[in-house]
């Protein structure tokens, strides 16, 4: 039995045993349900083997929502533990594990797939393309992300969760101080998901650069597509750094190398540097697509062209460049010296300039607009003041001398939550509500949606504003408890209440999905928001080939021109359409990667070698495979088009 001891949880508690049982029951229920309703074939044919960007986008979306709840439960547990002084709900080890997984899950397995979900669904439609450049690679990207996320999530029931923070700084993350396999999970699960993301970056850059509709020059692309292009550029240049860093961390833990160790010449600060050379651009990978969504939503519901299109593009290019030059501001206090700190302070504050340009552009788009307050617009309007709060506290943190006061306190925690929640999460929820009718053919209930938006905005303020104060008062982050005499109790109790309000907001969104699925009208037009760009020019639901005839474009707002100025989008006759075939290989390869990662985490070398061979066998198979895709005939297109037009 010694062999199996390694899979045991190092710090078991009744909660973890209960989760094991819950996971077991859920898996059995899913298997039984699929068998009872005879859906295995449907699942395999329509979803697991699909290469359609729309379906892959929806799978990303479902995964992101699931992970949102995993990370959300973590958050509630953290806030509950801190709500009163000297609380005994969690011990120090569990608290460490939970704040580590909360960070990783929320950034890498919730926010990332959420933006990639919207990118997958929207970008090809918005540029008038029929799919992405490499549809099968896209499926592989998804399955690698998904398997990485699953591998990370089983850590808390098999072998132990990572407990060195989402940044996993060495030497804390080294073998000496993190004895369980938790940090191995961190290194390898993120590695697998990261490779998937890198391939997404390559895929979307190629798609946007080469597959735009006739007439759509770069400066006529909708703003979300622009933001996606810049984001993917950052992905391509930032993620390889993460790949190497994680590989070196893995080798330190499993092969005894000396990259980040404290003896034999290793340099622990190297991890911090390399991590943030990836980590800071990652922040902009999250926020730029969010800015893209806001641009779409604000110009649609202000019924005006986006103000300052060129300056929007220029500021994104500037942000992408600066994002690589600010990484040291994450550790001003770790002894680089005054000169280095000053340089990084200046580059950090410089980022506020292009960001400010964007804020003013949105405000000027709203100015004199005929504003329609829908749920997506409500999120966008709430975003501007709340994000500004997070942004200006960021500039405070960016001043290196003052940072000695704020570093590692709740002030920092408040800052980045005030940036990420109003910045990224509001945008994703706005995007979800905005694109929901295009994805599923009905609209989410506006009344429930607005309630959720207000609750989430108020919850964010109530949860995070007190942290600014307790942080300035000296409450350190990542401490599992504090004594009553510190006086932090009241701040943390308010934060806990805010977290509960946020939780109610998110539950309301789930209820809205349930409610609207049951009761919402299916009789909606293909353009229910009266929008401006090409994704609304095709039918709802979108046929698999997206556009029967490729659209002709001559401005940034092609559909608006078609509606208001008599521009003809679709000219010419139907022609047969070439589409890629479905394939099971990406899914199978994802499963092998999961087994590979699991073997690696536990240092099981024979399964590791076998699965490595399996991965290369899949690649060889792909090389020799003859797959020329298939054609959709003109008759088929005519039939589909007639049917869909009737539905509208």
């Amino acid at each position: 039995m010694d062999y199996f001891d390694r899979f045991a949880i190092p710090h078991p508690s009744p909660v973890i045993y209960a989760s094991m049982v819950a996971i077991g029951i859920t898996v059995l229920a899913i298997i039984a349900g699929l068998t009872y309703f005879k859906k295995w074939g449907y699942l395999w044919r329509e979803w697991l083997t699909t290469v359609d960007h729309k379906r892959i986008g929806i799978m990303y979306l479902i995964s992101a929502l699931l992970m949102l709840f995993r990370g959300g439960v973590d958050a509630i547990m953290l806030r509950a533990q801190l709500s009163v002084p000297e609380n005994k709900l969690l011990d120090a080890q569990h608290y460490n594990e939970i704040f580590s997984t909360h960070g990783v899950v929320m950034i890498l397995f919730m926010a990332m797939p959420f933006i990639i979900a919207l990118m997958n669904f929207v970008v090809p439609l918005q540029i008038g393309a029929r799919d992405v450049a490499f549809p099968r690679l896209n499926a592989l990207s998804f399955w690698l992300f998904f398997m990485g996320a699953m591998l990370f999530n089983i850590s808390f029931v098999v072998g132990g969760s990572p407990d060195a923070g989402w940044t996993s700084y060495f030497p804390l993350a080294g073998n000496e101080f993190s004895e369980s396999v938790g940090t191995n999970y961190y290194m390898i699960a993120i590695q697998i998901a990261g490779i998937g993301t890198l391939m997404t970056g390559i895929n979307f850059m190629t798609t946007i650069l080469r597959m735009r509709a006739p007439g759509m020059t770069l400066m006529k692309m909708p703003m979300f597509t622009w933001s996606s292009l810049i984001t993917n550029l950052i992905i391509v240049f930032a993620f390889p750094v993460l790949t190497v860093t994680l590989a070196m961390g893995t080798m330190d833990r499993l092969f005894g190398t000396n990259f980040f160790t404290t003896d034999n010449g290793g340099m622990d600060m190297l991890w911090a540097n390399l991590f943030w050379v990836w980590g800071h651009p990652e922040v902009y990978i999250l926020i730029l697509p969010a800015f893209g969504i806001y641009s779409e939503v604000i110009s649609t519901f202000a019924r005006r062209n986006l103000y300052g299109y060129k300056s929007m593009v220029a500021s994104m290019v500037a942000i992408s460049f600066l994002s690589f030059l600010v990484w040291a501001h994450h550790f001003f206090t770790m002894g680089q010296g005054a000169l280095t700190n000053s340089i990084f302070s200046i580059t950090t504050m410089a980022i506020a300039v292009p960001t400010g340009v964007k804020i003013f552009n949105w405000l000027l788009t709203l100015w004199k607009g005929k504003i329609v307050i829908t749920t997506p617009m409500l999120y966008s309007l709430l975003f501007i003041p709340l994000f500004t709060l997070g942004g200006v506290t960021g500039v405070m943190l960016g001043m290196s001398a003052a940072d000695y006061q704020y570093h590692n306190t709740m002030f920092l925690v408040a800052h980045f939550h005030m940036v990420i929640i109003p910045g990224v999460i509001f945008a994703m929820l706005a995007g979800l509500t905005y694109y929901w009718p295009k994805m599923f053919g009905f609209m989410l209930n506006e009344r429930i949606g607005k309630w959720a938006a207000w609750l989430i905005a108020i919850g964010t303020l109530v949860a995070f504003m007190p942290m600014f104060f307790s942080g300035l008062d000296g409450q350190a982050r990542r401490m599992y408890t504090y004594s009553e005499s510190t006086g932090f109790g009241i701040y943390n109790m308010i934060s806990f209440i805010g977290a509960l309000v946020l939780a109610v907001g998110f539950v309301l969104i789930v209820y809205n999905i349930y409610y609207s699925t049951r009761y919402a009208s299916r009789d909606i037009s293909s353009d229910p928001w009266d929008a401006r760009s090409l994704e609304w020019a095709t039918h709802t639901p979108v046929p698999e080939y997206n556009f029967a005839i490729l659209p002709q474009v001559n401005s940034t707002e092609a559909l608006w021109d078609a509606k208001k100025k008599g521009h003809v989008l679709f000219k010419g006759e139907y022609e047969k359409i070439h589409m890629p075939n479905n394939s099971g290989v990406p899914f199978i390869m994802g499963c092998i990667f999961f087994a590979w990662g699991f073997s690696f985490v536990f240092g099981m070398w024979i399964p590791l070698i076998l699965t490595t061979i399996g991965i290369f066998a899949c690649m060889a198979l792909r090389s020799f495979e003859k797959d020329h895709g298939r054609y959709i005939s003109v008759e088929e297109i005519e039939e589909t088009e007639t049917k869909l037009r009737g539905a509208n």
């Binding site: 490499f134 390559i202 650069l209 993620f239 050379v277 020329h628």
Partner: protein, 198 residues
């Protein structure tokens, strides 16, 4: 599939053009990967912790042989692509085979070099310097190894299916990859070996 005959075979369809561009972007990511390794190397190269230094273990002869083998292989794959554009399948396959043989020779010398290092007490775990040295060289070596299998598959496919837009595209992309490994090697040769020996 629309084939544009005014362009070389590897660029003749839209799918092929997409693949070539996608691969260039992938090479951009690869540059970042090696740049990270080099940055780490420059940070750690004098942290030998009492273990061997670069000057003590580097030997010019095997390194020069490796360099000559790899640079020549880059030349021969260029000839192979030239032959492919002329439609000379036999010459192309011969040049591809020579390229792979030179690559295998390179790899043989590199393995020999690694064994020598370990014998001299410069193993993966010895010091921060040896860790990053062997990781950087090893990453390049692993790329060459992958390239050998990839190249072999391409030779088999061209042999069986002839020069089609698909196989030509694969061969061309493989040649980009091979040239890239050569470029990386030039940096390794200059900044790891020559600088280390000085």
């Amino acid at each position: 599939m629309k084939i544009d005959n005014s362009l070389p075979l590897e660029y003749s369809t839209e799918e092929n053009r997409l693949k070539v561009l996608g691969f260039w972007i992938f090479l951009g990511a690869e540059i970042m990967l090696f740049a990270t390794l080099f940055a780490t190397y420059f940070t750690l190269f004098d942290r030998t912790a009492g273990g061997p230094t670069g000057a003590e273990i580097f030997e010019i002869t095997p390194v020069l042989i490796e360099t000559i083998l790899l640079l020549t292989s880059s030349f021969t794959i260029g000839l192979g692509i030239h032959a492919m554009r002329l439609g000379n399948k036999k010459a192309m396959l011969s040049f591809f085979a020579i390229t792979l043989l030179l690559g295998a020779g390179f790899l043989g010398f590199e393995i020999f070099e690694f064994v020598t290092y370990v014998h001299e007490g410069a193993g993966l775990q010895t010091s921060a310097f040896t860790s990053i040295l062997l990781t950087t060289l090893g990453t390049h070596g692993a790329h060459v190894t992958l390239g050998l299998f990839w190249g072999l598959f391409i030779i088999l496919q061209v042999k069986k299916r002839g020069l089609t837009p698909e196989t030509a595209n694969k061969s061309f992309i493989f040649s980009l990859y091979w040239h890239f490994l050569d470029v990386v090697w030039i940096f390794i040769f200059s900044f790891i070996y020559l600088k280390g020996m000085m």
